[in-house]
């Protein structure tokens, strides 16, 4: 749980650039190096670099207008970058676009389809575009759209439309899929269903690049996350490590059964700080903090009561790194 004070903007003059390399031993599915895109005087994407390994779910997280979508549109070849290089499974999205279109699936933000076509008709059309398409019954089943096959697009709910849009990104059996804001506009249940679906698709060996401004989604799904703000990558790591470095770790708050010497805890490797809040004690640290604190107190004959553990999350990391509060409800529009 994020504590209240951590949600307040915490401005730091120099945000540390953390970068975890892509898991070793796997071929890169996406290589983006020094990508730059300028619209007039606005630098939408500024020196963005990241690598996604095959089989990863990679998140691109940032507030609206951070340049996420522009970066992705450059990566898939919809826009020409002003500088930088992009390789998708070793291919150039412009020079090798015919091959790229065969093996890279794309779901664009707010995609709409003709109102008076049926689900099955749309899928049949897109299916015919690909050399080695997915089995349609299978895909409809996985996406929970089997019962909607004969329904007009306009009669679908927001969640069903979104799932159809994901289905179109996957109908060509891509080896790499870009999904832009795939759960925006979905209710919580539909969102969780979609997350499960993405995990199942990854289990089939598809590399997934997920653009989102929804924290929980990135935390739940992504192996690694790039935090983007003002067109720059401000951090790139696993969600857990980003969260851990946001506040130097976790916080334990408890009510001691009696007085004790602070040095009892400050001497522990896991503890970085100790504060008193009335009768309560707040200890900040890392690792197995709770165990270490309780064992040390126990050895001194003190019992900790009313114990509460707070660990920081991706949202805290975001606030710390960008000085901004990401709109958590953005996805509920």
């Amino acid at each position: 749980m994020a504590t209240l004070e951590s949600a307040a903007p915490l401005l730091e003059s120099t945000a540390p650039l953390v970068e975890a390399p892509a898991p070793a031993g796997r071929r890169p599915a996406v290589e983006v190096a020094h990508l730059r895109k300028i619209y007039g005087s606005l630098v939408a994407v500024d020196d963005v670099s990241f690598t996604v390994a095959e089989g990863e779910i990679f998140g691109i997280l940032g507030p609206n207008g951070a340049g996420k979508t522009t970066a992705i549109e450059c990566a898939i070849g919809l826009r020409r970058p002003d500088a930088g290089t992009i390789r998708l499974l070793g291919l150039d999205p412009h020079a090798d676009q015919d091959q790229v279109h065969e093996i890279v699936g794309v779901q664009l933000q707010s995609g709409v389809l003709p109102a008076k076509l049926r689900v099955g008709e749309i899928l049949e059309e897109y299916r015919s575009f690909y050399r080695d398409p997915a089995d349609m019954d299978d895909l409809l089943d996985v996406l929970g759209l089997s019962a909607k096959r004969g329904d007009y697009y306009r009669s679908l709910s927001g969640g069903q439309r979104q799932r159809l849009s994901v289905a179109l990104a996957l109908i060509g059996q891509p080896r790499l899929a870009f999904l832009d804001e795939m759960t925006t506009g979905l209710d919580p249940q539909a969102r969780r269903d979609t997350w499960e679906l993405i995990e199942r698709i990854r289990d089939r060996g598809v590399t997934i690049v997920l653009v989102t401004h929804f924290m929980e989604e990135a935390e739940r799904l992504c192996d690694r996350v790039a935090l983007i703000d003002h067109g720059r990558v401000v951090a790139l790591d696993t969600p857990a490590r980003l969260a851990a470095q946001a506040r130097g770790g976790k916080t334990v708050r408890f009510l001691p059964s009696g007085p004790f010497d602070d040095r009892l805890l400050t001497g522990l490797a896991e503890v970085s700080r100790i504060e008193h809040d009335g009768q309560h004690v707040v200890v900040t640290g890392t690792g197995e903090l709770v165990n270490a604190v309780i064992l040390a107190l126990h050895a001194a004959g003190v019992t900790a009561r009313d114990v509460r553990l707070d660990s920081s999350n991706l949202e805290d990391a975001f606030v710390k790194l960008t000085g901004k509060n990401l709109n958590k409800e953005g996805a509920l529009a």
Binding site: L78, H101, V106, L108, V112, P114, L117, G172
Partner: protein, 265 residues
């Protein structure tokens, strides 16, 4: 087996039959959409048929115009009504879907697949062409069979005139699709263009009754030239070169401009 050989196998050009089948699927869905939203078919086939029947039933339309070589008013109106249906189709029916596809991001969506978005445009042209030919045939045959209009003197001339009229008007439709920012503005532009175009086609005053100045202007408008070429094919024989060249010229100019200004997103 390896992913390298997989990407190599995918690098081979697709067989032509598979590409043709994919284009067939695009055409099929466009045809379904037109059938399910028949507004434009009503304008381009239904309305001309209704007009032909009404004019055909009016006794006053079967009198010959004094001083015009025995031309009967109804016969003067047949090419005008043929051209009216074609114009309704190309000003509204053709650009409407294309602009809304651009507006909805469907053209953009398609450009991330192995199929280029131009296929959707081509599929629309195919479907609308079928409607155009059907409409022209129904109006012409009805006028001859039910209301005694003359059998065309030059069927080849009529076919060529119709094809050139379709060419010029379709290119105009694509130009509107290129320039109209939204689907609703297609309607505004189409309705605005319809009135002067149809005036010079003779909808309110058949060309034979126009003063010389208006007739001269009419000769150089797309619909005026189309009516002239069709009427000559029916009444006298293979049409003179002038209206055919005017239509061919409009086709080239509009097509060039449409290509120049068309945006895919």
């Amino acid at each position: 087996m390896s992913s390298l050989s997989l990407s190599l196998s995918r690098a081979r050009p697709r067989p032509r039959t598979a590409r043709a089948a994919a284009f067939g699927q695009v055409v099929l869905n466009e045809a379904r959409l037109v059938r399910r939203q028949p507004v434009n078919m009503i304008g381009s086939i239904g309305l001309p048929v209704v007009l032909i029947v009404i004019f055909g039933e009016l006794p006053s339309f079967h009198q010959s115009l004094p001083g015009y070589g025995g031309l009967i008013l109804f016969d003067a109106y047949v090419p005008i009504i043929m051209v009216l249906g074609l114009t309704m189709l190309t000003l509204l029916g053709l650009p409407g879907p294309l602009v809304s596809y651009r507006e909805l991001g469907i053209l953009r969506r398609l450009s991330t697949t192995p199929v280029p978005p131009s296929w959707l445009l081509a599929a629309q042209v195919v479907v609308q062409l079928c409607i155009a030919l059907t409409g022209l045939a129904i109006v012409n045959i009805t006028s001859v069979v039910a209301f005694g209009a003359p059998v065309p003197k030059s069927v080849g001339g009529l076919a060529l005139s119709c094809l050139l009229a379709i060419g010029g008007l379709f290119a105009l439709g694509l130009l509107i699709a290129a320039l109209a920012p939204t689907a609703s503005s297609v309607n505004a532009i189409g309705r605005l263009a319809l009135i002067p175009l149809m005036f010079f086609a003779g909808l309110w005053l058949p060309r034979a009754l126009m003063p010389a100045v208006l007739q001269d202007i009419s000769n150089y408008t797309p619909l005026g030239a189309a009516v002239q070429a069709i009427q000559d094919s029916v009444q006298t024989g293979f049409p003179p070169a002038a209206p055919l060249l005017v239509l061919a010229g409009y086709t080239l100019v509009f097509a060039f401009l449409a290509r120049r200004f068309f945006r895919w997103e």
